[in-house]
């Protein structure tokens, strides 16, 4: 049973659990396996591993290891099993749900040095990569063959394919191409017992029952992935990008419905609401009216033939729904500018608030207008503003609840609102997370979506594969502990072009 949030608190960053002398002794033993320079155990070295993209909740690991091979990962797992220490795998640390936090201390395995692209095989349209390869680097490596890796989470400039597998990462273009699970052919992982296991196949879409589907999105709770075989797609011949603004979110949503009803499958279909426009327009200067209620970014990709007809169709659909303005990117530079209206939204939040909390809910696409109305109401009742950015094509919304981090009452209200927003998503037929994951952040809310039996069956799979709960403990499943509340991000300086969601 999920509980309502209480008064928020910052978990004190208390330092490692184990004494320095014990850590030093463990580090010496580990160094024999992976080399001294691959082990971190001194406090200043551990400091950077005490949080991930959720930022404020902090737990220190006792040790951090940076292995260079799958065999080294296996040895670390075996060492951890002997010492009864939990293991948390970590990619780039960009995850937004606290999925890599060392809540019980233990060993963080960073895959940062497992960063080789082992093979790109154009005829098979696949790549074999280590988990620490940065998402965008993989597409860059494949570009010479006119191939790319389709999943494009917001963090793709820094997040790793291993982390993407763990969260079954999404991104704007998964509207057309699907989430990460559709792009992984096989992976090799080290089990809790320190065995190397390979699941999946080089040929796509095998018919047998398999564990690959469960590994993907299991947030590091079932194994530490050491190698991935991923699908690559042909780079589309043409990309066309359009930006339209509307008086209301409802009008923009009706345009989205028209598109879908016409059988158009855009590559991306993204929306921002009025408050986000107010934040973003003065910074990106893309020409959105400051009184617009919503802006819709539409992208088509594929063969050039026939795209003019689709472009005309989209324009007339937007016009019919009362578009206030409409433009198409003429070139890559203008495309980047139109995307900046969407991608720059998070950086721009700093212009309108000191703090914001990024939510990640999902509802059936047709329930979006209703959901957003309810989100607005929830925030208004608590005297809060909310700026919405969302993947309109697949019903995945990211309300940014704005507040003043120095005002405890407002912080508390923001957290309460965020909980209500997720409860609303679930009540409207949706779910707790479309792409960020459950991790530490939402585990106590799992009861909103799943029955105790549902969770028991999932837990049974976890226990079967990791009986000692060595792998990323306390993630995904409710712990029954005092409800932990994330402390929202203080908005970064306005105009920051860092990660967007």
């Amino acid at each position: 049973m999920a509980r309502a949030p209480g008064i928020y608190h910052i978990t004190p960053a208390a330092g490692p659990r184990l004494a320095r002398s014990r850590r030093a002794a463990l580090a010496r033993t580990l160094a024999r396996v992976v080399g001294e320079e691959a082990v971190r155990w001194r406090e200043p070295e551990l400091l950077v591993y005490d949080a991930d993209g959720l930022v404020i909740e902090k737990f220190w690991p006792d040790l951090v290891v940076l292995p260079r091979t799958g065999e080294e990962v296996r040895e670390v797992m075996r060492f951890a099993a002997r010492e009864k220490l939990p293991v948390m795998a970590r990619g780039a640390g960009t995850g937004l749900c606290g999925g890599s936090l060392a809540e019980r201390g233990g060993i963080v395995i960073s895959v940062a040095r497992l960063d080789r692209v082992l093979a790109i095989e154009p005829e098979d349209r696949l790549a074999v990569v280590e988990p620490g390869v940065v998402n965008l680097d993989l597409s860059r490596a494949a570009a010479a063959h006119r191939l790319y890796y389709a999943p494009d989470p917001s963090s793709q400039m820094s997040s790793t394919v291993g982390g993407n597998l763990a969260t079954n990462a999404g991104g704007p273009h998964c509207l057309k191409y699907g989430q990460t699970h559709r792009h992984i052919l096989a992976c090799t992982f080290v089990s809790a017992e320190g065995e190397i296991v390979r699941v999946g196949d080089r040929a796509p879409g095998g018919p047998a029952a398999e564990l690959l589907s469960v590994m993907i999105g299991s947030e590091g709770t079932l194994g530490v992935v050491t190698e991935l075989t991923v699908k690559l797609l042909r780079v589309p011949e043409t990309v066309r990008t359009f930006l339209a603004s509307f008086e209301t979110v409802e009008a923009a949503s009706r345009a989205v419905s028209d598109l879908i009803a016409a059988g158009i499958v855009p590559a991306a279909l993204e929306m921002i609401d009025h408050l986000t426009i107010v934040a973003v327009e003065p910074y990106v200067h893309v020409g959105l009216p400051m009184n617009a209620g919503a802006a819709l970014l539409i992208e088509l990709d594929g063969p050039a033939a026939g795209m003019d007809r689709r472009a005309r169709q989209i324009e007339s659909m937007c016009t019919a729904r009362g578009a206030m303005n409409y433009r198409e990117a003429k070139d890559d530079a203008e495309r980047a500018l139109l995307w900046k209206a969407r991608k720059g939204a998070f950086g721009a939040m700093g212009r309108i608030a000191n703090g914001f909390y990024v939510m990640d809910g999902v509802v059936p696409r047709t329930r979006l207008p209703e959901t957003l109305a309810r989100v607005g109401q929830i925030c208004e009742e608590r005297g809060l503003r909310v700026a919405n950015v969302f993947h309109a094509g697949d019903g995945n919304l990211h309300p940014n609840v704005l507040f003043d981090p120095d005002n405890p009452a407002e912080v508390s209200a923001a957290l309460e609102a965020s909980f209500e927003i997720l409860r609303t998503c679930v009540a409207l037929g949706g779910s707790l997370s479309g792409e960020h994951g459950i991790g530490n952040e939402k585990r106590e809310m799992m009861g909103l979506v799943f029955t105790p039996d549902d969770l028991e069956v999932m837990r049974a799979v976890k226990t079967a594969l990791d009986p000692g709960e060595a792998l990323n403990p306390d993630k995904i499943f409710p712990t029954g502990h005092e409800p932990w509340r994330p402390v929202p991000l203080r908005a970064v300086a306005s105009g920051d072009e860092g990660a967007w969601i």
């Binding site: 699970h181 594929g302 063969p303």
Partner: protein, 383 residues
């Protein structure tokens, strides 16, 4: 094989998910082994079942629970027929890609893990399309994973694990899928290649430089056939480009390939699917003779006939290396020619999951029994 051929002592026909769970709990308590049956058209498709006591026939779990054309999602009970699904979606020019032309139930189809190759190259497998499911297990629980939204990362995606397991980990009672619009236009191009080498070159050209094909197959001749689809104008243009490109290797026509493209589950003959990386498929095609190759999806389909010993010996040679025997595994085949992953660790892990989810071991004894999985693991570990 029909349900009657399985020699079960009795048949149970539950009318709801709750009744499935009650029946399974009762069977577990009595130690009765259960064979889940959809339409009974492909009972060996997840590996031949061993002797069972109870046939659990799911045909009464029939009907569309929710069809939301605007959200492009469909939720159906597991015993719903493929025809019902096709008819439901046709009215809105939508489709669930990968349904074969055969009769059968959707739950049975997913339990076989089968996706029509004609569709899955462009649209992915039915496993990928499955976004949520309700499953009844042998402890009497009815549980869910996933949901009804197309984008969701909440909890383990157990529903996809059940695909292909024949019901050995739990029995589908309800399924939710992500749909696609029907493409505006489809066009076919075939090439009568003068030699296998020419076919190989034509395939490589298509893969590296040609238009994106929704489906490619190679039949004895060799004849290459491809389908392109999408909006009308680009699909027509792609067909022209493909015909012009392939014209360099032989005579090209726009004839639609003769259906069916591939052996379907449940055929009386022994049909095997051998899997290989796309770049190896034509080697395999050459080696096995008389097969249909699907290079994009990494498969070769082969109909075999002969006495069981000869077939077994032939499969032993075919199953080496990256080649795997899939789909139907008739009872005479020895257990070391499984349809599973060849990784011993993965088989052992699956056995652990089987024991956790079906502790009484009554669900569909056969390929996915914990003992069978462990035996297969030991066999592969020795190899």
């Amino acid at each position: 094989m029909s349900a009657l051929d399985t020699g079960v002592a009795r048949t149970v026909r539950p009318a709801s998910a709750a009744e499935v769970a009650v029946a399974l709990a009762a069977c577990a308590a009595a130690g009765e082994r259960v064979l889940p049956v959809g339409a009974g058209t492909a009972l060996a498709a997840a590996g031949a079942p061993e002797a069972c006591d109870v046939a659990l026939v799911l045909g009464a779990l029939q009907g569309v629970v929710d069809y939301s054309p605007e959200d492009m999602t469909l939720t159906v009970l597991a015993g719903t027929t493929l025809d019902t699904i096709r008819q439901t979606l046709a009215s809105r020019a939508q489709r669930l890609p990968g349904l074969p032309v055969n009769a059968g139930t959707i739950g049975g189809l997913l339990a076989c893990g089968w996706t029509a190759p004609e569709e899955r190259e462009a649209q992915g497998t039915l496993r990928e399309r499955l976004i949520g499911a309700q499953v009844a297990d042998s402890t009497g629980r009815v549980t869910r994973s996933g949901g009804r939204v197309v984008k969701n990362v909440t909890g383990y995606d157990l529903h996809r694990m059940h695909v292909g397991a024949g019901g050995a980990f739990g029995i589908f009672t309800e399924l939710t899928f992500r749909l696609e619009p029907e493409p505006e236009h489809r066009a076919h191009v075939s090439l009568e290649a003068p030699s296998l080498e020419a076919a190989r070159e034509a395939w490589r050209w298509l893969r590296a430089e040609g238009p994106e094909a929704a489906f490619v197959c190679v039949r004895p001749g060799p004849v290459l056939a491809a389908r392109v689809e999408g909006d009308e104008e680009p699909a027509r243009e792609a067909a022209l480009a493909l015909a012009a490109g392939w014209g360099r290797w032989g005579s090209v026509s726009s004839r639609e390939p003769v259906s069916p493209e591939a052996p379907a589950p449940g055929r009386a003959r022994l049909s095997v699917s051998l899997r290989a990386a796309p770049s190896r498929v034509l080697d395999l095609f050459e080696e096995v003779k008389g097969a249909v190759a699907y290079p994009q999806s990494g498969e070769v389909w082969l109909d075999l006939a002969g006495d069981p010993d000869d077939l077994t010996a032939r499969l032993r040679t075919l199953a080496r290396g990256t080649y795997r025997v899939h789909d139907e595994a008739p009872a005479f085949l020895p257990p070391e020619l499984p349809r599973w992953s060849a990784d011993p660790g993965a088989l052992v892990a699956l056995a652990k999951v089987k024991r956790a989810l079906d502790p009484s071991g009554i669900l569909r004894p056969g390929s996915y029994s914990a003992d069978a999985l462990e035996r297969a693991a030991a066999w592969f570990a020795r190899r």
